[in-house]
C-alpha cells in the first residue's frame, strides 16, 4: 500500500514537472503571461510530492517490507534500523529517487524564496529545472522503478554490502547528492539567464548563495567519502583517484571555479559568459559523474547494477541536457553584452588564474577518468592511477595556490605587485624556512616537499586580508574567504605530511610480541572472537604506547565476516593524537611456513598492518574549514539580502503612509 502511494506520488510529481515546464515556457510569451503565475506553486508541489515518494521508500525499508523487490534485493530483517534506513539509498533505484527528490526540493526551495531575479528569468529558470527533472523522472519510472513488487514474497532479503553498513553511508550519499544536484540550480539559472539574456551582477548575486550552498555540501560530502574510504577499506590511503571519487571531484572543481567567477560578476560585472558557461559545466559534471557511477561501466562498490539499458538511458539524457545547454550557450553567448574591463594585475586577474587553473585540473581529471573507457572501446584494457593524477594535477594546483596567497590582497580593477609585496615577505620567508627544514630532515620527495613549504606560507598569507580591519566589522563573506583559504592550507599540509612522513609496517606477530612503528610501541595482547548483530569477527587487542613514557592505550581492530551477503571486511582501528593518527588493521592468521601446521595455539602468528601517519587528520579538518568558510560566506550573503529586504519593506511602508 505504502509502496503504491510512493509510486503514485512519483508519477504525479513527474506530471507536475511537465506542467511546470509548459507553464514556464508559455509564461515567457506575451499571451501566456498569466500561466506564468502557476509556475512557482507547481514547483513547490512537485518538490513535496517527490519528498513524499522518498519518505514512502524509507518507510518500506525501515519495516523491511520484503514484497517490495528493492527491499528484498538490498535489505535484511536482521540489520540495525539505521542501516535499514540508510539502505534505502544504498542501491541504484533508491539513490536515483534521492536524486530526483533533491532536485525537486531544490526547485521548490528556489520557487519559495528567490525574489531577486527578474520574473521572466525566474520562469525560464524554473522551466529549465523542470526540464532536467523530467528526464530523471522518466529514467526512474521507466527504467528503475524503486517500488516494484515481488511475487512470491521471499522469506528473507539478500542483505546489504557490508562495506556499506557503516554510519558513513548514512550521511555520505545524501550530503554528496545535495551538492551534486544542488548544482542543477546553477545550471537552470544559467539557462534562464541565457534565454532572457539577463546576465549581470543581479543574476550573479542571485545565483551565488545557491552555488555556495551546493558547494558546501559537495565539500563535506567529498571529505566524508574520503574519510570513509580511509578507515573502512583498511588500505591506509585517503584518496585513490578511483573513477567514482573523480566523479565527485569534477563537479567540485567546476563549482569552485564558478563560485569565484560568480563573485567577479557580482562585484565587478566582468566574466559574464564565462560564469554562465561554468554554471552549465558544473552540473554537466554532476551528470557525467552519475553516468559513470550509475551506468555500471565502472566496477566499484558504487556500481550497484550492471545494466547496459540504464547506461544508454543516462547517456541519452546527458546528450540532451549537456548538448542542449551548450548549443544554447553557443547561440546566445555572443549576444551577452561584454562585461567591465580590468588589468591583468588585479583581483579579477588573480581570479581568472584561479578559474583557468581549476578548469585545467578539471580537464586533466576528466581525461584520466574517461581514458580507460575510450581505450577499452578500442580493445586495450588500461587503468589510470596516482602516477598520472598526482603530478599532473599538482602541476596546475601548485601555481594556483601561489596565486591564492597573493590574489585576495590585490585590489579590484587595477593594482601593482609593489603595493602588496611587503605583506608577502613573511609568508615567503616561511616558505623558505620550511624548505630548509625539510632539506635538513631529508628524504622528502618533490611534491610533498613543495606542498609542505607552500602550505606554511599559504597558511600565513590566507589570514592577511584581515590585517588592518576592524575584526568585528569585517563582513562575514570576507571571514568566509579567509577561513576557507586557511582550510586549503591546512588540508594541503595534512596531505603532504601524510605522503612525506607516513611509516608503514607489515608484520606477523605472536601473542605478547611487541613491534615498533615510528614512535609507537605496539604489543599484540589477545585475538578473540566477537559477534555483532549480523557478523562475527576476530578482534585483536593491541596495547600501544607513544614514545617511552606515554600512557598505554587499547586498540581493537577487527576482521569481520558478514553472513548476508557473505563477505569479509576489516575494521581498522584508529588512534588520534594531536600530531597524527596510528592506524591498525588485523589481517589473518599467518599461514604456517612450509605447510607445517602449528598445532599449539600460542605459537600462531597474526598479520598486522600498521601505519603512523603524522598530521593526517588535518586533511579532513582542512576540508571542514573550507566548508565552514563557505557557510560563513553564505550566511553573510543571506543576511545582507534579508537586511536589504527589510529596509526596502520599511521604505515602502513609510511611502504608503505618507501617501495617505
Amino acid at each position: 500500500m505504502i509502496a503504491e502511494l510512493g509510486l503514485a506520488a512519483l508519477w504525479l510529481a513527474a506530471a507536475l514537472a511537465a506542467l511546470q515546464l509548459l507553464a514556464g515556457a508559455l509564461g515567457l510569451t506575451a499571451r501566456g503571461a498569466t500561466l506564468g503565475e502557476a509556475v512557482r506553486p507547481v514547483a513547490i508541489a512537485q518538490g513535496l510530492l517527490a519528498l513524499l515518494a522518498f519518505a514512502c521508500l524509507i518507510y518500506v525499508f525501515s519495516v523491511t517490507d520484503l514484497s517490495v523487490k528493492l527491499v528484498a534485493l538490498n535489505s535484511h530483517s536482521m540489520k540495525p534500523l539505521v542501516f535499514k534506513i540508510a539502505g534505502a539509498w544504498g542501491n541504484h533505484e533508491g539513490s536515483m529517487l534521492l536524486w530526483v527528490t533533491v532536485m525537486g526540493m531544490a526547485g521548490a526551495f528556489v520557487a519559495l524564496v528567490e525574489r531577486r531575479l527578474p520574473e521572466r528569468t525566474m520562469l525560464a529558470t524554473l522551466a529549465g529545472q523542470a526540464f532536467v527533472s523530467l528526464g530523471f523522472y522518466a529514467f526512474l519510472l521507466l527504467a528503475s522503478n524503486p517500488f516494484e513488487r515481488l511475487s512470491p514474497v521471499p522469506a528473507e532479503g539478500n542483505g546489504l554490502n557490508p562495506l556499506l553498513q557503516d554510519l558513513g553511508l548514512a550521511f555520505h550519499p545524501p550530503t554528496l547528492y545535495l551538492g551534486y544536484v544542488g548544482l542543477s540550480i546553477a545550471f537552470s539559472f544559467a539557462i534562464g539567464a541565457l534565454i532572457t539574456r539577463e546576465v549581470g551582477p543581479t543574476f550573479a548575486k542571485a545565483m551565488r548563495p545557491w552555488v555556495l550552498g551546493a558547494w558546501i555540501f559537495l565539500t563535506v560530502g567529498i571529505a566524508a567519502g574520503s574519510y570513509w574510504a580511509y578507515y573502512e577499506l583498511g588500505w591506509g590511503g585517503w584518496w585513490f583517484w578511483d573513477p567514482v571519487e573523480n566523479a565527485s571531484l569534477m563537479p567540485w572543481l567546476a563549482a569552485t571555479a564558478l563560485l569565484h567567477s560568480c563573485s567577479v560578476l557580482a562585484s565587478r560585472d566582468a566574466l559574464r559568459s564565462w560564469t554562465v558557461m561554468l554554471g552549465v559545466v558544473a552540473f554537466s559534471m554532476s551528470m557525467i559523474g552519475t553516468f559513470l557511477v550509475r551506468s555500471g561501466i565502472l566496477t566499484s562498490v558504487h556500481a550497484f547494477a550492471v545494466d547496459p539499458q540504464r547506461g544508454t538511458f543516462i547517456l541519452g539524457l546527458l546528450a540532451i541536457y549537456i548538448g542542449g545547454a551548450l548549443t544554447l550557450f553557443g547561440l546566445r553567448a555572443s549576444t551577452v553584452a561584454e562585461g567591465e574591463r580590468f588589468a591583468l594585475v588585479s583581483r579579477e586577474g588573480a581570479l581568472v588564474v584561479n578559474n583557468v587553473m581549476l578548469s585545467a585540473i578539471l580537464g586533466i581529471v576528466l581525461f584520466g577518468t574517461l581514458y580507460p573507457l575510450v581505450a577499452e572501446a578500442m580493445g586495450a584494457k588500461v587503468s589510470v592511477g596516482p602516477p598520472y593524477f598526482n603530478p599532473m594535477s599538482a602541476l596546475f594546483a601548485l601555481p594556483m595556490l601561489v596565486v591564492l596567497a597573493v590574489g585576495p590582497l590585490l585590489r579590484w580593477r587595477r593594482d601593482k605587485f609593489a603595493r602588496v609585496g611587503r605583506n608577502l615577505v613573511i609568508p615567503a620567508m616561511l616558505v623558505v624556512a620550511a624548505g630548509i627544514a625539510l632539506v635538513l630532515i631529508g628524504g622528502v620527495s618533490l611534491l610533498p616537499f613543495l606542498g609542505l613549504a607552500l602550505a606554511v606560507g599559504l597558511g600565513w598569507a590566507s589570514v592577511l586580508p584581515l590585517k588592518g580591519r576592524n575584526l568585528r566589522r569585517t563582513p562575514l563573506p570576507i571571514w568566509g574567504m579567509v577561513v576557507a583559504h586557511f582550510g586549503i592550507a591546512v588540508a594541503l599540509f595534512g596531505m603532504s605530511s601524510e605522503s612525506a612522513f607516513s611509516i608503514e609496517k607489515l608484520v606477523a606477530v605472536k601473542i605478547g610480541e611487541v613491534t615498533q612503528v615510528g614512535p609507537w610501541g605496539i604489543k599484540l595482547d589477545t585475538v578473540e572472537p566477537v559477534a555483532g548483530p549480523n557478523w562475527t569477527a576476530l578482534e585483536a587487542r593491541l596495547l600501544v604506547r607513544y614514545g617511552t613514557d606515554g600512557r598505554v592505550t587499547r586498540m581493537l581492530p577487527q576482521s569481520r565476516s558478514f553472513w548476508a551477503p557473505v563477505q569479509q571486511t576489516s575494521e581498522s582501528a584508529l588512534l588520534t593524537r594531536w600530531n597524527g593518527q596510528l592506524y591498525a588493521v588485523l589481517g589473518g592468521e599467518a599461514p604456517s611456513v612450509d605447510g607445517k601446521d602449528e598445532v599449539n595455539g600460542s605459537g600462531n602468528r597474526w598479520q598486522l598492518r600498521l601505519w603512523w601517519k603524522p598530521f593526517v587528520p588535518l586533511i579532513w579538518v582542512g576540508a571542514l574549514l573550507v566548508a565552514l568558510g563557505g557557510a560563513l560566506a553564505l550566511l553573510g550573503h543571506v543576511l545582507n539580502d534579508w537586511r536589504r529586504r527589510v529596509v526596502r519593506g520599511k521604505i515602502a511602508y513609510r511611502r504608503e503612509r505618507q501617501g495617505r
Binding site: 554490502n161 566496477t299 562498490v301 561584454e338 574591463r341 580590468f342 588589468a343 591583468l344 581568472v352 578559474n355 583557468v356 587553473m357 578548469s359 585545467a360 585540473i361 580537464g363 586533466i364 581525461f367 584520466g368 581514458y371 580507460p372 581505450a375 586495450a380 584494457k381 588500461v382 587503468s383 589510470v384 592511477g385 602516477p387 598520472y388 603530478p391 599532473m392 602541476l395 596546475f396 587595477r414 607489515l506 608484520v507 606477523a508 565476516s561 551477503p565 557473505v566 563477505q567 569479509q568 576489516s570 588493521v585 589481517g587 589473518g588 599467518a590 599461514p591 604456517s592 611456513v593 602468528r605 598479520q607 598492518r609
Partner: protein, 150 residues
C-alpha cells in the same frame, strides 16, 4: 595598461585556451606513459612489459603454488591463464577471497628477474563486485582454465 575592450577579451580567451590546450596535450602525453595496462600471463610471456612499469596482471592462482615466506606476510604464487604462467610475489594482507584456484588481478610491476612484484591484489569479491577484467576472463577462459587446473 590601456588595452582596448575587444583586445582584452581576446587576450584572456587566448591565454585560457593556451593553458587548457596545454593541459590537454600534457594529459595525453602523461596518459600514454602512465596508464597501466592489463595483461594476462600469455601476454606477459609473448610481449613482456619493460621492468618497473606499472601494469596489472590477471589470471588464476595455480593450485599448489601458494607459498608463505618465513616472515609470515610475504607470499609467492603462480598466476596462469591456461597457456602461460607468471610467478608473483606479494607482501601484505591478502583479500579473504584469495585462495588457490581463484581468480586474481595483481597490480604491480615485472622485476628484471621475471618475477611479478604485486603491490595490491584484487580478488573476486562476490557475484556483484567482480573486477571488470576478470568478468571477461571468466567468460572467455574460465572453462578452459578450470579444466586445466584440475
Amino acid at each position: 595598461m590601456a588595452v582596448k575592450a575587444k583586445h582584452q577579451r581576446l587576450i584572456l580567451l587566448v591565454v585560457a585556451l593556451v593553458v587548457l590546450i596545454g593541459a590537454g596535450l600534457l594529459a595525453a602525453w602523461a596518459l600514454r606513459n602512465q596508464a597501466s595496462y592489463f595483461y594476462v600471463p600469455s601476454d606477459i610471456v609473448a610481449r613482456p612489459p619493460e621492468p618497473g612499469r606499472a601494469v596489472r596482471l590477471g589470471g588464476m592462482v595455480e593450485k599448489g603454488s601458494l607459498k608463505t615466506a618465513a616472515d609470515g606476510v610475504t607470499i609467492a604464487f603462480v598466476v596462469q591463464d591456461g597457456k602461460a604462467k607468471v610467478p608473483v610475489t606479494f607482501r601484505g594482507i591478502v583479500p579473504s577471497l584469495f585462495v588457490e584456484g581463484s581468480g586474481v588481478v595483481a597490480e604491480g610491476r615485472m622485476g628484471t628477474d621475471g618475477i611479478f612484484v604485486a603491490d595490491n591484489l584484487l580478488a573476486k569479491h562476490d557475484e556483484n563486485y567482480v573486477p571488470r577484467e576478470m568478468q571477461d576472463m571468466t567468460k572467455d577462459q574460465a572453462k578452459q582454465v578450470v579444466a586445466e587446473t584440475q
